[in-house]
């Protein structure tokens, strides 16, 4: 039914008559509103999580400012242009990843950063957007659902950057980037038989990967997850402390800036990857549900934009960006609660940190470009 309606010319035009500044700026108002609410909420939690450090809040606020500017700029660019640029970005990104592996700056045993005149920057972050763009570019002009050889080509496009990131080594990011590209293929209608066989294959190869493929610290993380008690002095500490923080929050929470776990510094990384534990402790399950609700609305808006997109490219981008955003939420909330291994994924738009904020908001800019295209074509 919705399908049928959407195909009627003129229908969208009613919705999309230019209605003010937001439209002229190519902004999607519901999306913008949700993002502003989420980031504001994030800053409030951050203030408490950083131990009432206004400096940290201002720094993060500045990242948001930059991020929103990038988003607005991205929203002005036409989708065709994104589509054309995709492969070039991809080639550039691969070049940068090679540069990181060759000449990168190490941090905690991994080379992830590239130092450009004092400005440190993580090319892998860039690839979180570029990989789905490239896969969508590749699939946009082909018959969908994709045939086997096109699927193989997509896998190659995804595997190259993922492998380069894996050798940095950064397993978490490599998996996330692979996921963002695979979502495009999924949304394009990848046959279920391929999905099922891939899952079966993955399960069958789990054993050899465990034996030979994983670094000791990665195995350690998985083992710690299964039994955090085993390494109380080391890796298990984070999970035990974050579970205690979450659990002790109860339904009501201990009150903003009153979380004993976080305020007394028992909680590690409380303002970055583990910030949800602060939220859960101080705002209780109510706060968690509120945050989850905000995220869900954002996700639904993303899916809505995808459903109403005009071009195949726009559709695929909207779908995969939305799903990728969800993966960040899922992995972070799951890892802090002890459901998933600790892989170092920030809570999107809430955790302190600049690179991820900018790349996420750039993604939302692209999403807005998709929603703009829908209106433009309609007009």
């Amino acid at each position: 039914m919705g399908d049928y309606v959407r195909q009627l010319p003129g229908h969208s035009a009613d919705l999309a008559r230019p209605t003010g500044t937001a439209q002229r700026l190519h902004l999607d108002l519901p999306l913008l509103g949700l993002l502003l609410t989420l980031t504001t909420f994030g800053l409030v939690v951050l203030y408490s999580a950083s131990g009432q450090d206004m400096g940290a809040v201002i720094r993060q606020g500045r990242f948001f400012l930059v991020g929103f500017m990038v988003m607005i700029v991205a929203a002005q660019i036409s989708l065709q242009r994104f589509q054309r640029w995709g492969p070039w970005f991809y080639l550039g990104g691969i070049g940068l990843l090679v540069a990181v592996d060759v000449a990168g700056v190490g941090a905690k045993g991994a080379q992830r950063w590239l130092s450009l005149g004092g400005f440190r920057f993580q090319p892998s972050e860039l690839m979180k957007l570029v990989v789905p763009m490239t896969v969508a570019w590749y699939l946009a002009d082909r018959t969908l659902p994709p045939r086997f050889k096109y699927i193989m080509a997509c896998l190659a496009i995804i595997a190259l950057p993922a492998a380069l990131i894996l050798i940095q080594p950064d397993l978490g990011t490599a998996l996330l980037i692979a996921a963002s590209g695979l979502f495009v293929v999924f949304m394009a209608g990848l046959g279920w038989r391929y999905i099922v066989s891939a899952v079966v294959l993955a399960c069958a190869s789990a054993w050899p990967v465990w034996m030979y493929g994983l670094k000791d610290y990665q195995k350690q993380r998985i083992l710690t997850l299964l039994s955090p008690e085993s390494d109380k002095l080391g890796a298990g500490w984070n999970i035990i402390q974050s579970k205690t923080a979450i659990g002790s929050g109860g339904w009501d929470g201990k009150g903003w800036m009153k979380g004993t776990q976080s305020q007394l510094d028992f909680l590690p990384e409380s303002h970055t990857d583990f910030i949800i534990a602060v939220l859960a402790e101080e705002w209780g399950l109510r706060g968690v549900i509120m945050l989850a609700g905000l995220y869900l609305l954002l996700l639904l808006r993303g899916f809505w934009i995808g459903l109403h997109a005009r071009s195949t490219y726009g559709r695929l981008m909207a779908g995969s960006l939305t799903l990728t955003f969800f993966v960040y939420i899922f992995v972070n909330m799951g890892m802090v609660a002890g459901l998933l291994p600790v892989v170092g994924v920030p809570l999107p738009l809430v955790s302190a940190g600049g690179t991820s904020v900018v790349s996420l908001l750039a993604g939302f800019g692209l999403l807005m470009a998709v929603s703009t295209e829908q209106r433009m074509v309609a007009r």
């Binding site: 919705g2 399908d3 959407r6 195909q7 002009d141 082909r142 018959t143 969908l144 659902p145 999924f186 949304m187 394009a188 209608g189 390494d231 109380k232 002095l233 080391g234 890796a235 500490w237 579970k243 205690t244 923080a245 979450i246 659990g247 002790s248 929050g249 109860g250 339904w251 004993t260 776990q261 007394l264 510094d265 028992f266 859960a280 402790e281 209780g284 399950l285 968690v288 549900i289 989850a292 995220y295 869900l296 996700l299 639904l300 899916f303 995808g306 459903l307 195949t312 559709r315 779908g319 939305t322 799903l323 969800f326 899922f330 909330m333 799951g334 609660a337 002890g338 459901l339």
Partner: protein, 623 residues
């Protein structure tokens, strides 16, 4: 539309996409429900448990550092033990004004810049409520002052702790090594949980090489504290596993003899058991008091050690690379026999110098400046080794070629690390045409072969390499990668055997007999140490040039500055019939081998004739 299957079908695509979106939304909702269920379980179902846990999060996990393993010599004399000492630390969370507390502390007890630096470094990596160490080894008086002022110093604690102690000071500095405070780089490399509560780690020598063995496993206890951090009760406790004790092959009497024999001179002595590969003595002089390093050496002390022209921190026994000089002649002799280029009867005319065909340069024998002529009109193998005749080996080297020498000398372990169980071992140089091409990008010159034939030129060896080569000479080709450690917690650690040097028994015996003549022969170059000897010894003298001597110039020892004098070397094994000890000695700028061979004699005397070990051990404890 089966006939248009290759064309894009927007309607079908949109339908598929919609279906996929619906699937995606269901997956998202499903997974979100899983996450929320987890939070529900933690926050509602298990709320009571976690609330109690967080309230008691004055429950603290305290690491219990393991006791570091002890180190003994072969007789059971302690070389490294742990002594109780008191440590001043600060619980940052309990010190509201840290800077003020630190200022107050500095007024009460001396705290150095490096103490503070370490403190801030540790502070950045601490766990909440974990005491951060500030000053080690408090004196009785300092503890009293701190106790009196305790009320003014919130968060300051004084704890007892075991600290490494080296009873013999400088005697084992290079053999055992030392521990020191964990620095930033080490903190990154070490397993963080295993080193909680441990502030020291092996820095060099056996202490570093066997760090994992000596360290042990950390334990922990869960303690309940009150709001002020005082421990109310211990909830659970997992005892640490102490590190394993090491027994070394080293013999304190031998070590002491070697150390005293070297005296004020710079040099090294390595003694090995040719049957087991165990290192019986490893001395490099000057040494230094390793206890200085345990608590962070003062910069003045460190500067003095680092800048001393005698480089006491340099372990000459494994790091010192010297031209082996004539000590390689027994190896060369064996190479000559094995290659068939010489026989025991083969002789070389010796005018006191040697000339390469078609070259006017004269390569002089050392005896020329003393006698003005050669050793004898014709020199055979035994005489060449006994009197250390250069001309014989110039001739042999020329015919063997440099790559032939490499082939025969390499199995003795020259040019390769011996793999001794200590740190910083160097590999020396066993030159070959390929080595020169790879390292200097130059062709090999025939004259360089002659220098190499008498252990000069590019050739370099460490004392421990020479010791290994002697064990091979002593036991007809059998040799080991040297081991300082004999057993770990009483369990023997055998030395790995190296690929034996292959040669026929006759040839070994010819070379060994010639080496015996070096000491016992009428014209042996080390005959002076045969005086009053109660056993048979085989050896070989060596002299290594420190500065080059121009053509036509004569080297006069008394005229050159001390630092430019030749190095003296000596290698030996004894007793001749059934060797139980092999020794390599080097005395830097000793002038010649006469500085080295008396030291070898004293060491071997001690080993074979014995000494009151108990007496040595007793004085050792005091020193």
């Amino acid at each position: 539309m089966p006939q248009h299957i290759a064309l894009k079908d927007p309607h079908r695509e949109a339908r598929i996409y919609s279906a996929r979106t619906v699937t995606a939304i269901f997956i998202v909702l499903g997974l979100m429900a899983v996450i929320l269920a987890r939070y529900y379980a933690l926050q509602i179902t298990e709320y009571e448990t976690y609330r109690t846990q967080s309230e008691r999060n004055r429950v603290q996990l305290q690491p219990l550092p393991p006791k570091r393993g002890l180190i003994y010599d072969r007789n059971g004399v302690l070389l490294a033990d742990n002594r109780p000492s008191h440590l001043l630390s600060v619980v940052v969370e309990r010190s509201p004004d840290l800077e003020h507390t630190l200022d107050e502390l500095r007024k009460l007890v001396p705290i150095s810049e490096s103490d503070l630096e370490n403190f801030y470094d540790k502070k950045a990596r601490r766990r909440p409520y974990e005491p951060v160490p500030l000053r080690f080894r408090l004196t009785e008086a300092e503890r009293a002052i701190l106790a009196v002022n305790r009320h003014r110093l919130p968060g300051v604690t004084v704890d007892a702790q075991l600290l490494r102690h080296y009873p013999h000071g400088a005697l084992f500095s290079h053999a055992v090594g030392y521990v020191g405070r964990i620095n930033e780089r080490e903190a990154f490399e070490l397993d963080a949980s295993d080193y909680r509560g441990t502030f020291h780690v092996g820095k060099v020598g056996v202490e570093k090489f066997y760090e994992d063995t000596l360290h042990g496993d950390v334990g922990y206890q869960n303690v309940e504290t009150n709001a002020h951090g005082r421990v109310l009760r211990v909830l659970e406790r997992y005892d640490p596993t102490p590190g394993a004790d090491l027994t070394l092959h080293l013999d304190i009497a031998l070590q002491r003899t070697a150390h005293e024999a070297l005296g004020e001179q710079r040099g090294a002595v390595v003694a090995m058991d040719p049957k087991s590969g165990g290192v019986l003595a490893l001395v490099s002089t000057p040494g230094f008091d390793t206890n200085l390093f345990v608590n962070g050496i003062s910069s003045a002390d460190y500067g003095a050690l680092r800048d001393s022209p005698d480089v006491p921190l340099f372990n000459r026994a494994v790091q010192g690379q010297y031209p082996p000089g004539s000590t390689i002649k027994p190896l060369m002799a064996l190479a000559g026999l094995e290659s068939g280029l010489v026989t025991p009867e083969y002789t070389v005319p010796d005018p006191g110098w040697y000339r390469l065909p078609g070259d006017s340069r004269r390569y002089r024998d050392w005896i020329l400046k003393i006698r003005g002529t050669g050793h004898a009109p014709r020199v055979d193998l035994e005489m060449a080794v006994e009197e250390s005749c250069d001309v014989y080996f110039y001739d042999l080297a020329r015919r063997l070629t440099i790559d032939g020498m490499y082939e025969y000398l390499h199995p003795f372990g020259l040019g390769e690390r011996t793999g001794i169980d200590t740190t910083n071992e160097r590999r020396g140089v066993l030159p070959s045409t390929r080595w020169k091409r790879d390292n200097m990008n130059q062709a090999w010159y025939p004259g360089e072969t002659l220098s190499a034939g008498i252990g000069q030129g590019y050739m370099l060896a460490t004392p421990v390499q020479l010791a290994v080569a002697v064990t091979a000479l002593a036991s007809e080709g059998r040799h080991f990668s040297p081991r300082l450690v004999k057993s770990v917690d009483g369990e023997a650690v055998p030395a790995p055997e190296l690929a034996p040097v292959a040669a026929t028994a006759d040839h070994w015996q010819v070379v060994q007999a010639a080496m015996r003549e070096v000491v016992h022969g009428k014209r042996g170059s080390a005959r002076r140490i045969a005086k009053g000897i109660e056993y048979e010894m085989a050896g070989k003298t060596g002299t290594a040039q420190v500065i080059g001597i121009a053509q036509g110039e004569i080297y006069r020892e008394e005229e050159v500055a001390e630092r430019h004098r030749n190095h003296g070397l000596f290698i030996a094994f004894a007793p001749y019939e059934d060797p139980t000890i092999a020794v390599a000695v080097i005395v830097e700028n000793g002038g010649g081998s006469s500085a080295a061979y008396p030291i070898a004699r004293r060491v071997i005397d001690t080993w074979l004739l014995g000494e009151e070990i108990a007496a040595v051990a007793a004085t050792g404890e005091a020193g």
